[in-house]
Symmetry: C2
Subunit: 122 residues, 2 copies
DNA sequence: GGTTGTCGTTTACATATGTAGTCGTAACGA
DNA sequence: TCGTTACGACTACATATGTAAACGACAACC
């Protein structure tokens, strides 16, 4: 039921998932390289995330520190499921098949996945 | 480099991938159940897809028939890659690991994937 | 041949999104 | 104490998106 996180907001969330709580300027610093946003932009994104209850704040003197309310894992799970539902009829196997066909699996990926599956079956 | 396909546009594309060429009303009929859009809405979406060169038209008497210019496979590949890049650092194995952890893989999925990988290694 | 229905085209409008600028205020530094 | 700075809040504005209504042209039917 969590509200939708946009692309830009997602970049901010990645910073917060990496470390938190962070002030707006901390976040700006952390996303500067990847996105080059002004602090104003980051503040707007943080406000929107706040309004959507995706992050929370705590007072730190005159400023706010931001902290995620949504776990990265939950977000990743949601997005993965959305993709699988939309494009693969809700089944995960066709997704893996697709990745394989597109040669997007390295030899190492294959080995890792096999090991994983073996573990799963036990 | 194909332009972005929005969620609503994607529903229209699925109809066209299933069968094409189709008229606007054909498409409307095919998406009616899933989305319940008016024909006006479908026409707008088709125009936008046309403007983005994602579909093409051919004249059929007084009306147009629409046909995809982008293969479903290419779209699926792009979206899958985007997800893997954004959420799994570009590596596919962690995605599979994630699905596994979330219990999103059925026993049958596992069997299918194993067979697939075995085939890949040969 | 006028009416009606069907097309594509144009316009509409609310909300979301990307990307900031401005403003009032409170703290900090000289 | 007085200017500078750093904050959050509010405002801005273009483009994208979802969802259509209105319009004008033309074809089919009576």
């Amino acid at each position: 039921m969590t509200e939708k996180i946009s692309d830009a907001e997602h970049a901010v969330m990645e910073a917060l998932w990496e470390a938190s709580p962070l002030s707006a300027s901390d976040v700006t610093e952390r996303v500067r390289e990847a996105r080059g946003w002004s602090i104003q932009t980051v503040k707007t994104l943080l406000s929107r995330l706040l309004a959507k209850d995706i992050v929370a704040t705590e007072q730190d003197g005159r400023r706010f520190l931001y902290r995620p309310l949504v776990e990265r894992d939950a977000y990743v799970a949601g997005e993965s499921r959305r993709l699988v539902d939309r494009l693969f009829g809700g089944r995960a196997a066709p997704l893996v098949a697709h990745l394989a066909e597109q040669d997007q699996l390295s030899r190492q990926d294959i080995a890792e996945i096999e090991a994983l599956l073996k573990a799963l079956k036990s």
